[in-house]
């Protein structure tokens, strides 16, 4: 268990780590095992977070607080938010797919620091269990995933402290992961592979990891100060001790706005891998894609106060953050136009992976439009902290990131297992998710505009019908998980054998067996200089298949 063979060693050596299914429960240092550990672990937390969401939607079917006590409601919504962000989306779009794919993409046999990688993963289950068990032992935190003081200082201390501890662990895990990705992408590239030849997901992960490394320590510091305020009665953020409550919000959002990009930039990268394969076309505008990722990273660091337009912010700050936030829409827009251009003129296979990716495009565009509206101070002053904001970020985080996670599972499942998923169940899953999602969240825009604040257990009876509609959508979303779960389990045993490269893809993870051997390739790693070399150049249309562009070369 403790002896890991250095990645450069002979790939046929007898391994001391468990090799069967047991290795998924071990301290494995194989990046592929760790990736799948992240994925499955994240999905289990997703189901738990989903149950909590169900509890919230049940409470909200009636305008009075009747399903659970009010303080329990606040615990539930705090746990829901924290679990979905820190235990599902961040670990899965970064940890799961990042660990599985990045070493392939750079032509390495493992991550730069395999053992740090395993440590980073194994910090997650205990932190998650601690967070959830706090509900049963002391009562969970009640101040929302944002934990604004003084509320977080005055609500029961035990739950809040456990919340802080587990978020610190999860943040630590995420920093370890980020360092590892940066090192792997910059230093572990196969000789001959240039940066501008990397698949787009590497760029997305590079950008994301920079954000992680720059901003997560700020969150950690802030939460430590907050915990001092709670246990040692210091006065950093506590106005009754001479502290300043708004400073916490600045520090918190300095991390948490980048955090939303930590959740969505990797998803952008994954979509950039999926679409070209199934459209049989090169990714449109590689270079502008790279620059827009970097622009998003830079701008993403200077827009945090758009979450604080109604806090005590002076007018100049409101002006600056409105403009900065609006401009994020430009690089983001470039990426969407590039994806549309990738679809244009392709030979698109309408399978589940593509459907989920296109669902992502639609949902995210919608969420981006409401986002630009929210960036406008006068607009935001009305809808801040209402269901409009809830709708906005669910369009982004669920309609964006979660849709992409599903698309990626449909795309890479054959690689993970060597078997195909059932397409009919996949399309059913997409249909139910898409309809349920929109039914659940689209009406919430109206709720917010019309006067329903967020994080409430009781509300004005005039909103009852629309809330019930939204709950029906949530029910559909819950049901949509069933065909998916059934599909994933059943196909693992009975699915059609996929072969090494069922999609005829060119990126390096497909140029090995499915599932891949322990050190990724039995021979030398292939040099892929044009990961998106699909398609027929216009002047060669008739030469088609073989002579087309066999653009990856093996060996030197």
């Amino acid at each position: 268990m403790t002896i890991a063979i250095p990645p450069s060693d002979n790939q046929h050596a007898e391994r001391l780590q468990p090799t069967g299914w047991l290795r998924y429960f071990s301290f494995s240092v194989d990046h592929k095992v760790i990736g799948l550990q992240y994925l499955v672990c994240g999905f289990i937390f997703y189901l738990i977070g989903g149950l909590l969401a169900g509890a919230i939607r049940i409470e909200l079917t009636s305008p009075i607080s009747d399903f659970m006590p009010r303080d329990v409601y606040n615990q539930v919504l705090t746990l829901h938010g924290t679990i979905m962000i820190f235990l599902w989306i961040v670990p899965v779009v970064n940890g799961a797919f990042g660990n599985y794919l990045i070493p392939f993409y750079v032509g390495a046999r493992d991550m730069a620091f395999p053992r740090l990688n395993a440590v980073a993963f194994w910090m997650i289950p205990p932190a998650g269990l601690m967070l959830i068990s706090s509900y049963f032992i002391t009562g969970a935190a009640q101040s929302g995933w944002t934990a604004y003081p003084p509320l977080s200082i005055t609500t029961p201390a035990a739950g809040q402290i456990i919340w802080i501890l587990s978020v610190l662990f999860l943040g630590g895990s995420s920093i370890f992961g980020g360092i590892n990705f940066i090192a792997t992408i910059l230093k572990m590239r196969r000789p001959g592979l240039k940066l501008m030849q990397l698949p787009m997901y590497c760029w997305a992960m590079l950008g994301t990891s920079i954000l992680v490394v720059l901003s997560t320590p700020v969150l950690a510091g802030t939460l430590i100060l907050l915990s001092f305020d709670i246990v040692a009665h210091t006065g950093f953020f506590n106005p009754s001790m001479g502290g300043n409550a708004v400073v916490y919000q600045h520090l918190f959002w300095f991390y948490s706005h980048p955090a939303v990009y930590i959740m969505v930039l990797p998803a952008f990268g994954l979509v950039s891998e999926i679409l070209p394969v199934h459209c049989r076309k090169p990714l449109f505008g590689y270079v502008t894609m790279v620059y827009s990722i970097m622009a998003i990273v830079v701008l993403g660091l200077v827009v945090w106060a758009h979450h604080m337009f109604t806090s005590g912010t002076p007018p100049w700050m409101r002006l600056f953050f409105t403009i900065a936030t609006s401009f994020i829409a430009v690089p983001t827009g470039i990426k969407f136009f590039n994806w549309l251009a990738t679809l244009w003129g392709g030979r698109i296979t309408l399978n589940s992976a593509v459907l989920f990716s296109c669902g992502f495009i639609l949902n995210f565009v919608f969420g981006g439009i409401t986002g630009v509206a929210l960036a406008q101070v006068p607009f935001d002053i009305h809808v801040h902290d209402t269901y409009f904001v809830v709708a906005h970020f669910h369009y982004i985080v669920y309609g964006g990131s979660v849709f992409v996670i599903f698309a990626s599972i449909y795309h890479w499942y054959p690689k993970f297992t060597g078997r195909m998923l059932n397409e009919d169940l996949g399309r059913l899953h997409f249909l139910l998710t898409f309809v349920g999602f929109n039914l659940c969240f689209a009406p919430q825009h109206w709720l917010g505009l019309y006067g329903m604040p967020r994080r409430v257990a009781e509300y004005d009876p005039q909103f009852a019908f629309v809330n019930q509609l939204s709950s029906v959508g949530a029910l559909l979303m819950a049901i949509s998980t069933l065909p998916f779960l059934f599909n994933v389990v059943q196909s693992a045993f009975k699915g059609r054998i996929a072969g090494d490269n069922p999609w005829n893809a060119l990126t390096p993870e497909w140029l090995t067996s499915s599932p891949p051997p322990v050190e990724n390739w039995t021979g030398e790693a292939p040099l892929v200089t044009e990961p998106y070399g699909y398609g027929v150049p216009a002047d060669q249309l008739d030469l088609a298949a073989t002579s087309g562009r066999d653009l990856w070369t093996n060996g030197q």
Binding site: L151, A245, Y286, T288, A329, N338, I348, T349, I381, R455
Partner: protein, 261 residues
């Protein structure tokens, strides 16, 4: 073209907002319609392109080859960088004009509406109409000063001149009102959806909110910042009255100050 007209039509004709009951509400609604029109055009356009591509370029049975190898198109990419940049710049400037007209940038105000800010004795940390020391007004009406205290889980309103305490906010229609707000315990937020304004009420950091109610009626005051278990129940009412009724209410209450709950 159809798209633009359609988007404009949607923007102008779909109404998603409650009645506008303050001077800045109608200004806000103007902004909302502009944003909504632009958003609708963009969204419908992208929806159209996406659906068209999925239908037109789907793989039909028997097609085995790849699509066209188009790797990029610089003029096109410049085009769709420049246009959104221009649009967001326009939106940003326009919304600042709107914000200005709502009184948010009070010192720069060249607004036709009555907006007043109070001369704050102590430091005021934020809000609308707070940054200015201007006191003159086009209509010659001085703002009605009211002090708001928020606590778990209620708002209290204090009329300093008459020394009235009330649990409901009474304000005269057509006269500017200036709220000075502070919280006792945790952060709350004062929101009147029909006025389209919201401001956090923060312990230790007074904030101000200036507005001019226009339509008499009773509107909800909602706490919009999570403040504890009864956050959802933390609601109150603002009563906008004709100035005469307001004055009667003031005099009635000055004699025997009662706090209504």
């Amino acid at each position: 073209m159809v798209l633009v007209l359609g988007g404009l039509w949607i923007g102008q004709n779909v109404n998603l907002l409650p009645v506008d009951a303050s001077a800045n509400a109608s200004v806000y609604d103007e902004l909302f319609r502009v944003l909504f029109s632009i958003g609708a055009i963009l969204f419908l356009g992208i929806l159209g392109v996406l659906v068209f591509s999925l239908i037109q370029f789907r793989r039909r049975s028997g097609q085995l080859g790849d699509g066209l190898a188009i790797e990029g198109n610089l003029p096109l990419e410049i085009f769709w960088t420049a246009v959104p940049a221009f649009v967001v710049l326009f939106v940003g400037l326009y919304s600042f004009d709107i914000y200005d007209r709502m009184g948010g940038m009070a010192p720069l105000s060249h607004s036709a509406h009555d907006h007043h800010s109070m001369v704050a004795g102590e430091e005021v940390w934020g809000g609308i109409g707070s940054s200015s020391s201007q006191s003159g007004s086009e209509t010659g009406l001085l703002p009605v000063p009211i002090e708001v205290t928020a606590m778990q889980f209620a708002f209290l309103f204090h009329y300093p001149k008459e020394d009235i305490m009330a649990g409901e906010l009474h304000v005269p229609a057509g006269r500017p009102v200036s709220l000075k707000m502070e919280a006792k315990d945790v952060i709350h937020a004062f929101w009147v959806p029909e006025f389209r304004i919201k401001q956090d009420v923060i312990p230790g950091q007074p904030t101000v909110l200036n507005f001019t109610p226009t339509k008499p009626g009773r509107y909800p005051i909602v706490c919009a910042e999570l403040c504890g278990p009864y956050h959802g129940g933390m609601r109150s009412t603002v009563v906008v009255e004709d100035p005469e009724d307001f004055d009667t209410w003031l005099t009635n209450n000055t004699k025997a100050p009662v706090s209504e709950a």
